[in-house]
């Protein structure tokens, strides 16, 4: 009982906001966070794509082990791990129920489990990489690999603003609840209550749309005063901005180490 209570507390919006901020800015001291963004992109390009083409379970398991280690090193927020597990469990359980329903047996689970292992490798790789970069670094990295300035800025901006937006959404939602009247009867299967909450959840986007529009304009105007449009389109400015990105020994070491590990997996199995 104690745990459920604390767990629901943990899932509060405030906590989520904190976890998101933590994901964005809290991991600056880890080993992976010190690497160059390009290293991380390269690493993710490998571990995000290659597992799709692998069918040898032992290699996949070896990779999964490696991913778990990097996830631990990156100090990924438990909330994100929890969402991930929920997704994987839900998917597996759902398909199991379906195939049992249509007369299959448990052997149906095996290909599904292999798919789950594949998905876990890819998901963990993306979590590791994403949690190791703060918005500035992500934006610079994207700019460096040739993403247009507007897009890379917008991504970094969204990354930074999400926790704030979430908080604002929560405030609007709560004020709707305060002023509104919850249904007196719950209805069959709580449908009245569910309907009520869904309605509020959608109505809350109305004020949020307006305030976000205002915020977007302020941001873009601020960018303009800083001459960003010039910066996005001129290589000299870009060079100056990205001068701090440098591939160091650590980066090469990490990439070579990963490559050796993967190669040895292929050789052993």
């Amino acid at each position: 009982m104690e745990y459920t209570r604390r767990f629901t507390e943990k899932l509060s919006v405030e906590q989520m906001k904190i976890e998101l901020l933590h994901t964005a800015y809290g991991n600056g001291h880890t080993f992976l966070a010190k690497l160059d963004p390009r290293t991380l992109f390269l690493w993710y390009a490998f571990f995000g794509i290659v597992p799709w083409f692998l069918h040898e379970t032992r290699i996949l398991l070896g990779m999964l082990g490696f991913m778990i280690v990097t996830t631990v090193i990156a100090r990924v927020s438990p909330l994100i791990i929890f969402i991930l597990c929920l997704g994987l469990l839900g998917q597996g359980g759902y398909l199991l129920v379906i195939s049992l329903f249509f007369g299959g047996d448990f052997s149906a689970m095996l290909p599904l489990l292999k798919l789950t292992a594949k998905l876990s490798v890819i998901s963990l790789a993306s979590i590791t990489v994403f949690c190791s970069m703060n918005p500035d670094k992500l934006s610079n990295g994207l700019l460096k690999i040739g993403v247009p300035g507007q897009v890379s800025f917008s991504i970094a901006y969204g990354y930074r603003m999400l926790p704030t937006l979430l908080e604002e959404y929560h405030h609007v939602f709560q004020s709707f609840r305060l002023r509104g009247k919850a249904p007196e009867k719950r209805g069959i299967l709580y449908w009245r209550t569910i309907y009520y909450f869904i309605q509020i959840a959608m109505r809350s986007f109305y004020p949020l749309l307006l305030s976000t529009a205002k915020r977007a304009r302020t941001t873009v105007e601020a960018l303009e005063t800083k001459g960003s449009k010039y910066g996005f389109n001129h290589t000299k400015v870009k060079e100056l901005k990205l001068a701090s990105l440098r591939m160091q020994g650590m980066d090469y070491g990490f990439l070579i180490g990963s490559a050796i590990y993967v190669a040895s997996l292929f050789i052993i199995f």
Partner: protein, 295 residues
Amino acid sequence: MQDVTKQRYKLTQSQKMMVFILSMSLYGLSNMITELVPSAYLGPIEFSIEYFAFIPLTLCILFHPLYAAIGASLGEVIFGEIMLGQFGGFGELEKFIAFSLAMYVAGTYVRDPKNLRQVGIAAMLGVSIHQAISVMVDMLKVWVGVEELEAVPGLAESVVVVEGFAFVNDLLFSGILFALLPTIYLVPRLYGKIEPLLGMKPRTRDDHFSLTEIIGARVIAGGIFLAGAAFLFEFLSESGINIIDWEADFVENYGQWVIWLSLGIAGLIALISILVMTKNKSKATGMTNEKRNVS
């Protein structure tokens, strides 16, 4: 010639960026919310909030559809998927294209945002295009035999039934509840109010989008190429050569406990992360308090 009254709806570079940012951050936020809301199961049938499609729909109707659509898709991929570790590899590419296309078509369909009938039709149109594309891709995968469904009794039929049901469910349940009704509610209320906040004039009946201007031959070719590539990659990744023999062996040798073992491990990890979360709570709040003080 006839274009004296029919002006092109033009935006400056910064206005495009505003629309893009607005659409991306809001749809990313809503994706995060839908990701967290649990879905209800009725037997093997799932009732869930698939997505808050009304946000990109509303924005596509009120602003330039192209930038709103691409912004929303990008927001979904980045904040709803990569950041939460739900990224599905190349399959996402197909989703990205399908969603952008559906929202864009819905946005261009509406000539007059004050006309509720047009808005309603556009909302349903957007959802059905998106769902139809994704169901077709899924069915096609089964048809071509991409996934090893033949090996598993009962799964092939179930996929078709489930896909068909998911389509109807998404169209009627998500489509009406999360696209049609909120879009009809929001568009007239926001029309004329939100545009000045971004420093632009509201869309009028006379504005029109030239399809050829935006979707040139290069974009179409690129889209087809990317969709083909996405499908090819999925095909390659799903079609193993030696899966079937090996599977049978595996079950004989190790039995079904392997399955339960792996399910148990997943459950265990979930449990541990719950424990870690409850344990870390005081620490986390302490840290953020410090951060606040510093900033």
